[in-house]
Amino acid sequence: MSEILDFVIVSMVLVAIGIYGLVVKRNAIRMLFSIEIIANAANLLLVAFSRGLPNAQGQVVALFSIAIAAAEVAVGLAIIVVIFRARRRLSVDDLSLMRW
């Protein structure tokens, strides 16, 4: 059987992949993918330590986190679709309207 460290390492790899995506990709939807990957890694850590302690509160917080992620994706995709309708492109380099 596996131990906590294995789950921690998988979570760390997922966070690194997500940060790579956030840094390199310029497509708004792909950056949303990266954010989702990082959020999933955080949930994995929460549940892993909840199992290891053992303490049920980690799983409760993970459930809250999943529900909040659903709300975040709904608003994020609405914003992306609105930006696409207005600008006809999705590269975040072009979205400099609110940059000082």
């Binding site: 790579y20 999933n40 053992p54 459930l63």
Partner: protein
Amino acid sequence: MADPIFIAVAVLTVGTAIIALEARELIYGAISLAISMLGIAGFFLLLDAPFVAMFQIAVYVGAIAVLIIFAVMLVRTQALFTTKEDKKRKAAGIALMLIIMSSLGALFLASGLSGQFGQFNTSPPIDFTEIGELMLTYYAPALIILGLTLAGSVIAALALARRESITGQEEGEEEEAEQQRHERDS
């Protein structure tokens, strides 16, 4: 050290996460992201948390992935292919990823996680009646705020979509005016 099921799920999750970011077509990336989320649900099952795993499948795979796929279909595909990716930026991103992985990995391997604390198979798994009890007693205010947040996000998404249709009409009128101008010029 780790059992084969864990390694299989880990390879599936990490591999599909990479494919989600690197797939040429965005729709394949979205499907790959859904599989990656399924892999995370598999981890939750391995951690004796079936309730969280079912919630993950219902919300992430059932709702979020489908929402993303719909958004990708709504966005014109031509805009998705024109991704100007800097070679230098990509190299810098990979370097940053490796630095984060190696430094965090060294940190975790040096910590006491692999010792006595990390062996969790002796303790009994958490019963999910305990989760329900916690949610309705200690975390009840958070649950109410969560419900309000979800309602607010749904209303916000609806408001954005509605305003977008109004501006869409205005854009259509502008396009007609531009066409008329072009016809006049020619």
